[in-house]
Each structure stands twice: as structure tokens, then as C-alpha cells.
């Protein structure tokens, strides 16, 4: 993973802060942060391609995380890993990436219902980044419904 992630305080749900040196790395870090909440697995597994489109950058991040949540629920466990190769904004927004094979649910992992639009922030590198975000990083905050 090329970026990083951590959880911020939220009364009822979880707020994920993710960052990366590029937009692709940010999306990948957000995916990895979600997988950490769901219960990380050491199993490398195989890879499958994922292609997504959305109206805009924020919608694309929600769609990416909700794709992982859906795959975890439908396939009997969260993907063992995930990655993002391309994020493009050309009229709409699109993502090309991959997810690992499903790994068994681990005890202590959370059932994430969905990624939400509430308070959703996706920002290019700026001076106003939250504490802990390396200088020059893309960053995002997204609330996950638990």
C-alpha cells in the first residue's frame, strides 16, 4: 500500500481518514483502511479486475468502498487485498483497480453496512490537511456505517 489510513472519532459509526501520494494511492489506502476495519487477512489470494464509474470524485470513492463491501458480503468474506491502478476524471469519473480473492471473516472484524456521503471530503495536496497526513498527499475523510 502506497498511502496510509487511520480512524477518527465518530459517535455511532466510523470515520476513516486515508491519504496517499497520488489520487490512485489515496483510493487504494481508503480500500485498505476499509479492509482493516472488516478484518485484515494475510492470505494473498488471486486478483480480479474492478472497473467503476461515478458522477464525480466523491461518488467514485463511495462506489469503490461500496464495491468492496458488496463483494465481502456476497462472496463470504472480505477481499484479501485491493489496489487501484488508474483514477480518471473525464466527463465523469472512473477507476480501474483490483481486489484479492475472498478471505474468511475474522473474529473482531466489523460488518460495515456502507460507505456514506455524509461529511465526505476528498482533497488534493494542500496546506489544510488534517494532522498526520504527510505533506504533499491526497487525503479523504469518509464515514462508514457500522
Amino acid at each position: 500500500m502506497r498511502g496510509g489510513h487511520r480512524l477518527l472519532e465518530h459517535t455511532a459509526d466510523l470515520c476513516l481518514l486515508a491519504h496517499g501520494p497520488s489520487e490512485e494511492a489515496l483510493f487504494e489506502a481508503a480500500g485498505c483502511g476499509l479492509l482493516a476495519v472488516m478484518g485484515e487477512s494475510a492470505s494473498p489470494g488471486g486478483r480480479r479486475r474492478v472497473g467503476l464509474t461515478a458522477r464525480d470524485r466523491e461518488g467514485l470513492l463511495v462506489a469503490w468502498l461500496n464495491e468492496i463491501i458488496y463483494l465481502a458480503a456476497a462472496e463470504g468474506g472480505p477481499p484479501a487485498a485491493c489496489g487501484v491502478d488508474v483514477v480518471r476524471h473525464d466527463g465523469g469519473s472512473c477507476l480501474e483497480g483490483w481486489v484479492g480473492a475472498p478471505a474468511p471473516w475474522r473474529q473482531g472484524g466489523a460488518e460495515v453496512k456502507a460507505a456514506t456521503y455524509h461529511g465526505l471530503t476528498v482533497r488534493p495536496p494542500s496546506a489544510a490537511a488534517p494532522p498526520g497526513v504527510p505533506r504533499g498527499s491526497w487525503w479523504a475523510e469518509i464515514v462508514l456505517d457500522i
Binding site: 459517535t11 473482531g108 456521503y117 455524509h118 475523510e141
Partner: protein, 485 residues
């Protein structure tokens, strides 16, 4: 993200605070928050009141953007939020229902008393734990064919009663008789259906639970008698919802609604509130799918109750029918429904969104079962696993002021992460067992997240609701055994 809220509030009567329309551009109505000064201090600690103001911006919202005493910060709507929109001019908002569509409560009364379960609660909890699939990613014993799933989505709890021998008389004691009209399985995506095929009869995780409880104190003898409650009576309370199917329906339609707000030129302060006119194709499709998911929720809880009866009978070495078990009531607290209420002196048909809020219809309402009509609707309010839960009754005042709504629980005051930092699951387990509460949990971390300290004082919440006239206390329930997913 967890900064406090310092906006303006005006006193508006007993346990009432008004958030004026002038607070924020776009508010169509004021907010109305039911709280005393102590609860208000807790409520101001995060952004729940900003969400009350945001909800007030929904097109066609009527009266107030309401916040019940257990309000806390959610996403889009606050948890504990109620919003009614005009049936023709108003909107439907999936964010006003949430991802766990028709998450709700199911309360079984039994013919058992404390003496009947003395020394046997551990065995009962073992049987419940073995019989009811719970936790993250578990499957139920029922594998539904596509046609069977469509049957569940259309018929709700009725399907379970017909196919699995649940007592049809219990349907009378479920909100909407366990089947919301207007459900359209064709509006539910194949993804949502795929998630549901083995989840009927599963509890889930997080704050979902099964508790064995005893009636500790009665407050309203007449209502208690109507509800069949006596001091020392043993009850089984179940909290669950529509599982992954409901989550996916909300996810799918949030995307639909985010397109719709562009098409219909709707401006909102939070995309999670995305909505469409109720009469638009998007609005109609959402309601058809939401109602189908709600029906899955009712079917799920009735089936969980069916499993609980069998487990109870096995633990006590008798037949289920010997236990005198019946549904006291079942209700949803995440739902939007068409209802008729009086607004400014005139009866109007409305869409009432309740997100972490409970319907609390007062005496005489025609939708209530005949046995309860004289006293009002039972309201089931879980507290936390270490203290109490309550049975309340709806009031005429709630009908007049809150679209027949009241609180739904204690309301969180501590984040999950903070709870896990402050409390170790193993220690909590020991502490609860020391209090005489038998605990069965899949995950000690999950148990810590749901620790009593993470929640507000449910007794204060229900007292504030009573002080405001939204509901009255009927019975306080004490947990004897707790099962968490």
C-alpha cells in the same frame, strides 16, 4: 470530525428546544429537539444538531425536523430523527431510513416467571446462542430460492407464518401486521437479492442482540395488563433488521437519488440526504424496494422469534407451545411509511421518515391491534446490556406533535473506538456475569463496543420522553441473559 455544536437553541416548553429556521439558509422548517438540559449538553457534544438543521432543508418537509431524546450523530439524518414530508409535494429520502432498513425490535412474552428460570438462564442462553446464527458473515439455515425470496419481500412476516409454522395470531401484534403494502421485489437489485439468499433468520452483529429479561417494575398497571405484563414475567427481546438486503437497497437508491437531485434541481447541504419527489419514478421505485426490504426485516425478526421459542423449550425440556410464548409487539425504527396525521388542524397524508425513532401511536388509533387500542401502542426501547430496557406506550400528545413518534433506545455517547480503548471485552464479560447477567458473544471487541458506558442513561431518555408527553413508561425490564452478534 467530532467537534461540538454551538448553534442557537430556544426553549420551547417542557423538554423542548427549537432550532430556528434562521440558523441556516435552506431550512424549510425549524428543528425541535426533545431533551432536558443534561441530555442537551451531551447532544451538543457532536454534530447531531447540524444534521437536524440539514434535514429541515428537505423539500416538502412539514412541521419540524424532529429530534427524539436519544438523538446522536449519524450520517445524513441524525439517529433519533423524524421528518414528515407532504404525500404529494414532498420527497422520499433513503438517508431518512438508513442502511439497516426496518431495523427494529421484537418482544416475546412468555408464561414463565423468575422462579421458572432460576438457575437455568445459562442453559437458555447456550441454547439461544447455538440456535440463532449471529456475528459477521454468518449464514442462516434457510436457503431461499429466487421465488421464495420474492415471496418474503412481498409478504413479509406472513410468509414466515405460512411456511414455517410461526403463529399467525402473532401477526396481529406486529407494526403493519409485518407486511408493508406497496413492496415491489422487482425494484430490488440482483445484488441485494444475492446478499439475502441465506440471511433470513440471522441476527447480525454490532448492536443487534437477543436478551432474556424479567419485568422489574410496572409504572402503568392498565397498559401493563393490556400488554400481558406482570412483575417477574420473563420476556425475550430481539433487535435485528433486514440484513445485507436492506444495506444494499439503500446503497443502490442513494446513487439513484444522487442522480435525481441533479435532474430535479434539489439543493441539499449533505449528499447523504439525497432524495426525489415521492411521486417521481425514482421515488416510487425507492418506496417499492424499501417496503420489500422492510418486509424482509419483519420476516427475519418473526423467524428469529420462532428460533428463540424452540431454543427456550429445549433449554427447559418442554414443548414450545407449553411456554405460553406470544409476540407482545414488533416494530421498526428505521423506516418511511405513508401515514395520516393532523397538521395545522387538518388531516393530511404524509411520508413519515423515522431514523432511529419509534412509532408511538396513541389510544384509539385504528392501526393498533384491538387488544391494545384502548391504551395505545407498545413502544420497545432497549437500553444497554448492563442496565434496563423499557416498554412504553404511545400517547395522544405524540400524535399531535411528533407524528406519533418517540425515542428508540438509549443513544450512544461514546464512539466505538473510545469504548474499546476504555473497556476490555473480557473484563466487561466478567463484570456482567458478576451482576448475574449471562453473556454470550461472538467477539470480545464487539462486546466492548456495546458496553453500558458507551450509551446514555436509558432511564433518563424515557423520562424525558415522558416529560415531553411523547410516551409513557409501562414497564422496566432487567436483563438476565444477553447474546450479542
Amino acid at each position: 470530525m467530532a467537534e461540538g455544536w454551538a448553534g442557537p437553541l430556544e426553549t420551547a416548553g417542557v423538554n423542548r428546544w427549537r432550532l430556528p429556521r434562521s440558523y441556516k439558509d435552506g431550512m424549510n422548517v425549524p428543528g425541535l429537539i426533545y431533551a432536558d438540559s443534561e441530555l442537551l449538553e451531551q447532544i451538543r457534544a457532536d454534530q447531531a444538531l447540524e444534521q437536524v438543521a440539514n434535514v429541515a432543508c428537505l423539500p416538502g418537509i412539514l412541521g419540524h425536523s424532529l429530534a427524539m431524546p436519544d438523538i446522536h450523530w449519524g450520517y445524513g439524518f441524525p439517529i433519533g430523527g423524524v421528518a414528515a414530508t407532504d404525500f404529494r409535494q414532498g420527497v422520499l429520502s433513503p438517508g431518512g431510513v438508513g442502511f439497516d432498513i426496518n431495523c427494529g425490535m421484537h418482544l416475546l412474552r412468555t408464561g414463565l416467571g423468575l422462579a421458572d428460570v432460576a438457575g437455568r438462564v445459562g442453559r437458555i442462553m447456550d441454547e439461544l446462542y447455538a440456535s440463532i446464527p449471529s456475528g459477521v458473515g454468518v449464514s442462516g439455515s434457510l436457503k431461499l430460492s429466487p421465488a421464495e425470496l420474492d415471496g418474503v419481500l412481498e409478504q413479509g412476516a406472513t410468509w414466515v407464518a405460512r411456511r414455517h409454522g410461526a403463529d399467525a395470531a402473532d401477526l396481529e401484534f406486529m407494526e403493519e401486521r409485518g407486511r408493508l403494502a406497496g413492496a415491489d421485489p422487482e425494484k430490488v437489485s440482483s445484488r441485494a437479492k444475492k446478499r439475502a439468499r441465506d440471511q433470513l433468520g440471522t441476527l447480525g452483529s454490532g448492536n443487534h442482540f437477543v436478551e432474556v429479561q424479567a419485568v422489574e417494575e410496572l409504572f402503568d398497571k392498565a397498559a401493563a395488563q393490556a400488554f400481558g405484563l406482570q412483575e417477574g414475567s420473563i420476556l425475550v427481546m430481539i433487535h435485528s433488521g433486514s440484513r445485507g438486503l436492506g444495506h444494499q437497497v439503500c446503497t443502490d437508491y442513494l446513487e439513484t437519488m444522487n442522480e435525481a437531485i441533479v435532474r430535479y434541481g434539489i439543493k441539499l447541504p449533505d449528499r447523504q440526504l439525497a432524495c426525489a419527489p415521492a411521486g417521481s419514478p425514482e421515488g416510487k421505485d425507492y418506496f417499492g424496494a424499501m417496503a420489500a426490504a422492510a418486509n424482509f426485516g419483519w420476516a427475519n425478526r418473526l423467524y428469529l422469534g420462532h428460533l428463540a421459542r424452540q431454543a427456550l423449550a429445549r433449554a427447559l425440556g418442554t414443548a414450545p407451545r407449553e411456554l405460553g410464548v406470544s409476540v407482545l409487539y414488533d416494530l421498526g425504527h428505521n423506516i418511511v411509511k405513508p401515514e395520516e396525521h393532523v397538521v395545522e388542524g387538518k388531516p393530511r397524508r404524509l411520508w413519515v421518515h423515522r431514523k432511529g425513532a419509534t412509532r408511538a401511536f396513541g389510544p384509539g388509533h385504528p392501526d393498533l391491534p384491538a387488544a391494545y387500542r384502548e391504551v395505545g401502542q407498545p413502544v420497545l426501547v432497549p437500553g444497554d446490556m448492563g442496565t434496563h430496557s423499557y416498554v412504553l406506550v404511545g400517547t395522544s400528545a405524540a400524535m399531535a406533535e411528533s407524528f406519533g413518534s418517540t425515542c428508540h433506545g438509549a443513544g450512544r455517547q461514546m464512539s466505538r473506538a473510545a469504548a474499546k480503548r476504555a473497556i476490555r471485552g473480557e473484563e466487561l464479560h466478567r463484570r456482567l456475569e458478576g451482576q448475574g447477567i449471562a453473556v454470550r458473544a461472538k467477539s470480545m471487541a464487539g462486546l466492548a463496543e456495546e458496553a453500558p458506558e458507551a450509551y446514555k442513561d436509558v432511564s433518563r431518555v424515557v423520562e424525558v420522553a415522558e416529560g415531553a408527553g411523547l410516551s409513557r413508561r409501562v414497564a422496566r425490564l432487567r436483563p438476565l441473559g444477553v447474546m450479542k452478534g
